[in-house]
Amino acid sequence: MNPADTESPTAPSSWPAGNFSRIPAWAYTDKDVYQKELDRFFYGPHWSYVGLEAEIPEAGSFKRTKIGERSVIMVRHRSGAVHVLENRCAHRGMRFCQERHGKARSFTCPYHQWTYNLEGKLLGVPFRNGVKGKGGMDKDFQLEDHGLSKLKVAVRNGVVFASFSEDVPSFEDYVGPTVLPWFDRTFDGRKLVLHGYSRQRIPGNWKLMLENIKDPYHPGLLHTWFVTFGLWRADQQSTLLMDDHGRHACMISQRNEGGKADVTEGVTSFRENMKLNDPSLLDIVPEPWWGGPTVCMITLFPSVILQQQVNCLSTRQIIPCGPDAFDFVWTHFGFEEDTPEMHERRLRLANLFGPGGFVSADDGEVVEMSQDGFHHDPAFTTVCELDGTKIGNTDHNVSETLIRGMYRYWREVMEL
C-alpha cells in the first residue's frame, strides 16, 4: 500500500506532558510536524553528517549529498580545508551540481553560467557590463553579496559534519562527553579508506531508523540470522548510553565468551559440518582498538548511525524525503593500516549486513510496515515501555530507554 494514498492524521492532537513512552502516530505522519523537524533539527543548531574526508582526497574533489531535503556539496579546497556549500545558485536557485562525486576547479551553474570558487564565492556573471552599453547589472551589483550559502563545518578525525546554523555548539559539546569517547574509539585519527556505498530508499519516517538502532530489543527477535550465528543473545553483556539530552546514543555489546560453542540450536547442523569455519561467513578477528566490545552502534541525532558490527564498519546517513520516506546511504570504510585480509573481511561482512544481505533487508521492511500502521488512526500511539518509562543508561539490552530519551529531546525542541 502506498502511504501517500492514505489519509494522514491531521493536526497534532494532545500528547500528555511528561510522557515519552507513548509516541502518537502523528509524530511520524503529519506534514507540518515534519517541516518543523527539518527547520529545527536538520536546518537548526544541530550537526548533520555529510561524509568522510576519504571521499574527497584531493583539492577540488567533491561529493554531493543532502542535509534534510537541502542539497549540499562537500568539497576540498586547495588549502586542504573542507567546505560545505549549499547546492543552490544564488541567481535562480538552481541545484547546479548534478554529479554525485567529481573534481572541480570551480562550480558553474549551467543556467546562466554564474561561477563560484570552491569556497562558494561568486567569481563572475556573464554580461555583467551589458552588451554594447546596454543592459547588464547595475553598478552597485557586488559579487561578494551573491555567494553560495556556506555551512558551518566540523571535521573530527576524518568525519565531516555541517550545520546551516551559526548558533550550533562545538561538535564536541554537541556530541557530549558520554558519547564522544565511543566516536573516538572508531575514529581516532587513523586514515580511513573508502570501501563503497549501499543506498536504500525506505518508505517510512526517518525517526524510525534511529529508533531501530536505539532498540536492542529487536535484533534477536527479528533477525533470527543474528541469533543463529551467535551474533546476538538476550543475555549478552550490553550497555546502553545516551548524552545528557537523550538525543545521541550508543548500544554497546560484547559477545559472550565461548562464542561459537554457545550458539543456539539452529546452527547445530552447520557446526557439525564445520561450516562456521568457512572464512566467507563469519571470519571475525578481534581488533585491539575494540577494547572488548564486539558491537557498537552509535546514533548521532538527527542524521547518522555509526556502525561497528564486529569487523564491519559503516556510516549510515539518514536523508528524510517527506514524512513517509527516507534515503539511507551506507558508506563502508576501513583503515589505511588494514591488511588485505582485513580489508576483504570488512567487505564480506558489509555484504552480509547490508541491504542485499541478511539483516538490513528486514529492518527496511519493518520500518515500512510500521509507517503503514500509523496512517489510519490518529489516536494510535506506540508503546515504548520495555524497562518501564524511565530514561537513563542501562547495563543490559532489555530496554527501550534510548527511544524514550530521544523523544524527551524531540518534544523539548519541537515544543510539542
Binding site: 530508499r201 527479528l222 576483504e344 555484504n351 541491504p355 542485499g356 541478511f358 533487508a361
Partner: protein
Amino acid sequence: MSVDLRKVEDFLVHEARLLDARDWAAWDALFTPDGIYWMPAAPGQDDPLRHVSLIYENALLREIRIRRFADTSAFSLQGGPRGWRIVANVRIDARDAEANTITVSSRLMAAEYQRDRTTRFEGFVTHRLVTEGDSFRIALKRVELLDCDAMRGDINLYL
C-alpha cells in the same frame, strides 16, 4: 572449442526458468563447487573484494540464503514473492579452450511481485560457464543491475 550459441541460450533460459519456479536447490546445483554469484554495487565494478557488493556469495552463503527463503520467520520474505525473467541479447564474448570455459554476456529483464507491488529489475549479466559434457556449470554469474548504485529497495531474490 566449438560451443553452439543455441546451446548457451538454452542453458540460460533453463537457468531463468529454475529461478522463476523458485527451485533454488536445482538452480544452485548449476554452479561449480567454487562457483560465485555476484551482484556488484557500482557500475563497472570489477573487484568484489576491494569494494562492497550487493551480493557476493559462494556455495555456503547461497545455501544460507536459500534456507532463509524457506524460513517463514525471515520477515522480509513473507508474502510469497513471485517473479519471471527474460534473458536476451546473448553473446559468447570469449572462449578459453584450455580452461574449458566460455564467457557469455546477456541482458536481463525481470519482475518480482510481492505484497501488492511489482518491482522491475534490469541487468547486464555475465556468465562464466564451464563446459561439462553436453551442458554447462556456472563458475561465475555477475548481475550488474542498471540501477545498482541508486537509492533502491532490498534485494530479496536471485536474478
